[in-house]
Symmetry: D2
Subunit: 250 residues, 4 copies
């Protein structure tokens, strides 16, 4: 029973073959380190740019339910910062952020998407027909606010394309979006989760851990929000405002 | 009730004043983004190097209790990756990683440590005497394996010094270590958590979120271990090995 | 924004209309209190007996992955008992315990199962055919060890029947088990999760919180295991045994 | 590596020596089962009454921060009920509920409190003087709303006394409350957490798991609130109300 990721003894810690002290510290930055951990090798510059952008896109989005849960948890357990962060991450499920996983799974399970345009069209038709028949939402498409286009999507897809990662998965998602518009009769732009799921698939990330991109990103965001909570508390007010209403006379 | 970190509307997401799409994506890497989130501004190159090293140092350390907890959690809830990561982070408390917080708190509460060598010596004597009287372990010193010196410590302190971050907090911790050796009669090297706590203090990170450095780092590590768990499961074997022993005849 | 469960002010706490101090404390026991919380009224004696049995059945099952995760978490965060329990619960997902939810959902979504034997047979045939076609495991049936019969199942179903809760959902699950044996050609006894899912459905518990029975039960078990961990630690040994193997020479 | 709590094989599950199927199911109720798990034996009727009251007292207290965190988590991860409950429990720390632990620790570490009135007075004086000198709040005393008396306290202490559990720990807490009033010059009634910590100590519960009483209780409450959240959602409104304010024009 051993992990292949790390070997350590009293003198050294080797991570995927690199020595932490002599090869990594001061030489490998955080994004490269995350890539090394997950892929088992350092990224090339193009992978590095694309992978960083995917995580950075999800670090911060204001007072999300996840952030509120973390702040409320901190109120009761201020000496367990990790418990507040864990509570915040617990809600990074299927509804928010988790649609990355849905999109990545859809694309990766569709089979080799690089077999040409015709094959992609056929796959897209199959996918849309299946979701339509099951009355399910197609993951990665549509947004309640950005009805025409999600500005993050265009930017991420451009960064991917500039670096050679507009491959079969991205093109299949584009084909699915076009087919969905044709078949369902309304514009469903690729949303940021869809873009991330597709580009992560181009990078070869297994869909089963694709939600991890959101988890890494949101942990950073949660720490920042907990620092703000310490300096400018709002969870207590949020709670008392709610409680107050619950405490009106019976 | 609002957060100052992020403002978003249908057209844009602004994080500490920067536009996510036009100013950040493709331009700001993950380490810089984490710094921006927490400090409210982008790092200068020296801060960037030092901050990246602090987090990178804690990303991976093999089959830690936290990693084992995450892998065992995944066994029961494979469709909730976030629950496995949250379980792993829940153990990033006072014993492992959390000693960052102890060291950072000690140094930050000691008052201005840059008032000169004499003042630092006096503070160090007070601190060691107090912990000795209370029979408590001084956070940031000593290591069960690296009895002479923790190789990560020297490297991190060197990176900090090269970039202008060998200031009052680092020197106070060094003074405490020297005084502890004198007063307690045995060598207690600064360990990696102590070094990180001191350098994070130099960067101005509030000790109350200093554990966050470990949380960001370990989330990356946990995602990598869960990917390995999917490909080469070991949690079931760990469990069955234990269970088997528990199932010996009554 | 208010909850209908509880109204409280400076003088009283009323839970579903009962006063905590005068109506509940010393008069309502834990099982009744749980029923009151969830159903909004106290149970009658038959409901009380059945509901208690469902939870009691899941309190303890030795060194489960969930228990190991909690003990390993405690090792790193001994001053945050809640974090260890939260970590343990995080793994109560689809694989262990969560199959309650699968069975309850299957039965509750099948529509009114009390329309008579013929209707039930037809439903059972549909269900088995559907799972067979989708190559999915039928929730609530089969057990890796109890291949002939799970002794807990028979006892729980007997307690339910004695108290008037052998209704449409239980009979539908029995019909599904019989049809599965006929259609798949092998004996698949109702397992304990299936029995609990069916009986909870008889009690009218919404399948979407049926996993809650396991969560209440396991929280009790986790607290007991953490007490044992304090008195007779085993997590450190479990970890070191694993670590040791990971620390063999490179 | 084995747990003494449970032995199981293909034919039976024995919990602290009792067979789950033949000795427990249908015979042991939930409160008794919790006592059996934690104490290793069934309670006598007096212990049963007192222990049930302690947990029941903490099951429900409206829209607490913990409940809000669980509901907000559910919003993002509706298919992981366990993650929402785990998030809710993560905040059961030192501030809410956790003061049980503070009171139980204080009383249990004070040494044998049954050595007579004089000894108790001396202990109480020492304790109050120590907390006063350290400017710390004495756990278990005072309440922001119930300034004269917490009605739950009187009821719980009466139940304990009626059943023979007004022993040294309860009397020491009463002595501490009286001494605090004398020394600090203001009335500080024993609050519900103090009463529970003292009575749990009478029952012999190790202070290090005394927070577990709150965890068991709150898990029940969280499941009930999540059921209400499914039927009458309020988390989304809570979030959007906050978000809306955050989304005002820049």
């Amino acid at each position: 029973m051993r992990s292949e990721i790390c070997r350590s003894d009293a003198d050294s810690i080797r991570i995927h073959g690199l020595d932490l002290v002599t090869d990594i510290l001061g030489k490998v930055d955080l994004g490269q380190m995350a890539f090394l951990e997950i892929w088992g090798r350092l990224p090339n510059p193009r992978e590095d740019t694309v992978f960083n952008a995917l995580i950075v896109a999800l670090v911060e989005h204001g007072l999300t339910p996840s952030v509120l849960a973390a702040r409320l948890t901190y109120l009761g357990a201020p000496d367990s910062l990790q418990a507040a962060v864990a509570a915040g991450l617990s809600g990074v499920g299927t509804v928010f952020v988790g649609s990355i996983e849905g999109a990545a799974r859809l694309l990766q399970e569709a089979g080799p998407a690089d077999a040409g345009e015709d094959r992609r069209q056929a796959l897209a038709r199959d996918i849309v027909a299946r979701f339509k028949a099951e009355k399910r939402i197609i993951p990665g498409l549509g947004h309640p606010i950005h009805k025409q286009a999600d500005p993050r999507t265009a930017r991420l897809l451009a960064i991917a394309a500039e670096n050679g990662f507009r491959g079969g998965h991205v093109m299949l998602l584009e084909a699915v979006a076009a087919e969905a518009e044709r078949s369902l009769g309304r514009h469903l732009p690729i949303n940021v989760s869809g873009a991330i799921g597709a580009i992560a698939s181009e990078l070869g990330l297994d869909w089963r851990v694709s939600r991890g991109i959101g988890l890494i990103a949101r942990t950073i965001g949660l720490v920042a929000h907990l620092l703000e909570e310490i300096r400018s508390p709002l969870a207590r007010e949020l709670w008392l405002r709610t409680e107050h209403e619950a405490q009106e006379p019976l």
